[in-house]
Amino acid sequence: MAVPPAGPWSGLVRDALVAALVAGLLALPFVGLETYDIGGGALGIRTHFDRVAIAIAAVFAGRFLYRLLRQLYRERPPSAAPPLARIAAWGNRRAAAITLVGLGFALALPFLPMSSRYLIDLGTTVLIYVMLGWGLNIVVGLAGLLDLGYVAFYAVGAYTFALLAHNLGFTFWEALPLTGLVAASFGIILGFPVLRLRGDYLAIVTLGFGEIIRIVLLNWSAMTGGPNGISEIPRPTFFSLPFARNAPEGTTSFAQFFGLDFSPDHRVIFLYYVILALALVTNWFTLRIRRLPVGRAWEALREDEIACRALGINPTNVKLSAFAIGAMFGGFAGAFFATRQGFISPESFTFMESATILAIVVLGGMGSQMGVVLAAILLVTAPEFGRAFAEFRMLVFGAAMVAIMVWRPGGLLARREPSLHLEPRPTAAQSR
């Protein structure tokens, strides 16, 4: 590459000097002065001008290098897309193949030679977030309704199942449809007051809704057990065959029925397949409904609500259906969470969860199903890898989010697949 002419060089230096000056002004009081106790409650001041100098030098060098790299980068031919974009484009071209490989991997995971109980557990957690991400994708990605309280529906699903099991003796499979129904009703309850709101205002109200649900769960001790939560939630059965070392009187356990040696791994593997199936149902449903009038109306609402009304589409119905269906899948995931953990408490349903799920949807690329999978894998497994430097986990997490949003503002795999194509008109001979 050619050496930049004198003009840009002096520009770079000047820019770096300004940055260094600002850094110096800030560093002088914050880094350069330190107070310490000189006894008798009085404070003395130590100065660290060496540290200030280091800070100024670091900022100068950093800023200079940053600008220099940007300039070099810009001089490359414009056809060279940034690497992330190239990877995403490649992924989009090979979407079908990647989906198949991914699905095959997901199906085979428990039986791969390297798999362990830990890995299957991690896979289950990832799949819960994938399912939650796909559910929230309906509300945020398709209908464009920014929902910061999605965890509320997750909690409603979990508590519905726990309470049904405790009070009415429901099993997981009997309760599952009901949890979806109850969560969907809560979705509609949330939907009504926010019909007129959009964007930031909607986000604030949904945030409040999530907190209300959590606080009710925390304080309504008679019903929900308050902060102690609900324990001894029944585990799912394999077509009414329980996973137990010693089956209760009159029943056969899964291991006995199939003549296997009992292993606690059976249940873990089974749970993994249950959440895989639930997640795949969510995905199938979303892909299908996108091609139906409701799904297209959701997307149209995201694009322009006023135009929707001018076309005779009832925005109330469209919004409520999006909230209800998104909430339903949250409810299913919640019921699964409850049966997997065997114990739930309001602590599992904090705003942090909502934020993580929303981050999965936004990072993946709003409306992109594959993007959600990728983002869920990244966000759930990254903290696992980061256990060694636990205190910096959130810092790394935040930095990664900023980096992705800078380089891929639309999300990792942002691309919208049209819901239908115009087929060439059948020729006269064919139609006759």
Partner: protein
């Protein structure tokens, strides 16, 4: 006009006040089936406000807006916004195009047929199961979209993302989308704005074709006098919210009140764009 004129939309004493400001003041006129009715007037005369009252975006302060659908009379001012489109058959376009920019051209036209498709999909149940009944309805909707795409010369762009279309195509797509709802009355808010002379001439042919073939009424707000004078069966002139004239193109051109409103006795300095419209009008007026 041959044959009896069939009234389609009767506007009686429409008044719209915003606090102290009277945007539309006691406006009455009738739009007819198989006719193009144009509303003209200087900027700020209240034309778009009339449209917004008609299509339910504003609730009028006073007046009656009656859509005559066969034997039925539907009072628009009492209907919910979206029902004016779905039940009364009022379709509109917007001054600043409002497409579903992220969706394809074809999808825009399918969304316009939402209500029919929704009924066919039995609230999505038949659709989720992929029943033949829904598939047939979807095919019919695509055929209808294809018809309008063909008619408006957008067929080659069917799978384009709407937001990526050139401006003229976006305007035509918005008209196609409104037509896909199967309207009784088509309201166009400045359809020729931003079009070049050739495109505007094509628009004239298109609107006349729609009027004659579809047998619907067209209500038009327009500044481009070559469009208004060339195709309108009836012209309503507004100034400061009041109707100052109502008649055929020839009558309007000769009306001294109209000429005064457009050319003389300006109270406020006209906007640059407006000046152009004035000149366009006077030129057409003098040469015709």
């Amino acid at each position: 006009m041959s044959g009896e004129r069939v009234p389609l939309l009767k506007i009686e004493h429409l008044t719209m006040r915003f606090d102290g400001l009277v945007a539309v003041d006691d406006l009455s006129f009738t739009a007819y089936r198989r006719e193009i009715t144009a509303i003209i007037g200087p900027n700020g005369a209240g034309k778009t406000t009339v449209f917004n009252c008609l299509t339910g975006f504003y609730k009028p302060s006073a007046g009656r807006l009656a859509m005559l659908a066969g034997d039925e009379t539907l009072l628009l001012e009492r209907m919910e916004g979206f029902r004016i489109a779905s039940d009364a058959g009022m379709a509109r376009t917007f001054q600043n195009v409002r497409l579903f920019a992220g969706m394809t051209v074809l999808e825009n036209l399918i969304v316009a047929q939402h209500n029919a498709l929704m009924a066919a999909s039995l609230f999505s149940i038949a659709g989720l199961l992929g029943l033949p009944r829904y598939r047939a309805a979807e095919r019919a909707a695509i055929e209808r979209a294809r018809h309008w795409l063909d008619r408006l010369g957008l067929i080659a762009r069917a799978d384009w993302v709407a937001g990526a279309l050139p401006y003229g195509d976006q305007r035509r797509l918005e008209i196609a989308r409104a037509l896909c709802t199967g309207p009784r009355l088509l309201c166009l808010d400045e359809p020729a704005a931003g079009l070049n002379p050739r495109e505007s001439a094509e628009l004239n042919t298109l609107l006349l074709g729609i009027r004659d073939d579809e047998g619907i009424g067209i209500l038009l707000i327009e500044h481009d006098m070559s469009v208004v004078m060339g195709i309108s069966d009836q012209i309503v002139v507004l100034d400061h919210g009041r109707k100052i004239a109502d008649g055929t193109a020839a009558e309007i051109r000769a009306d001294p009140k109209v000429i005064k409103a457009y050319l003389g006795e300006e109270e406020e300095a006209p906007l640059p764009a407006e000046t152009e419209a004035h000149i366009g009008f006077s030129r057409t007026g003098n040469t015709c």
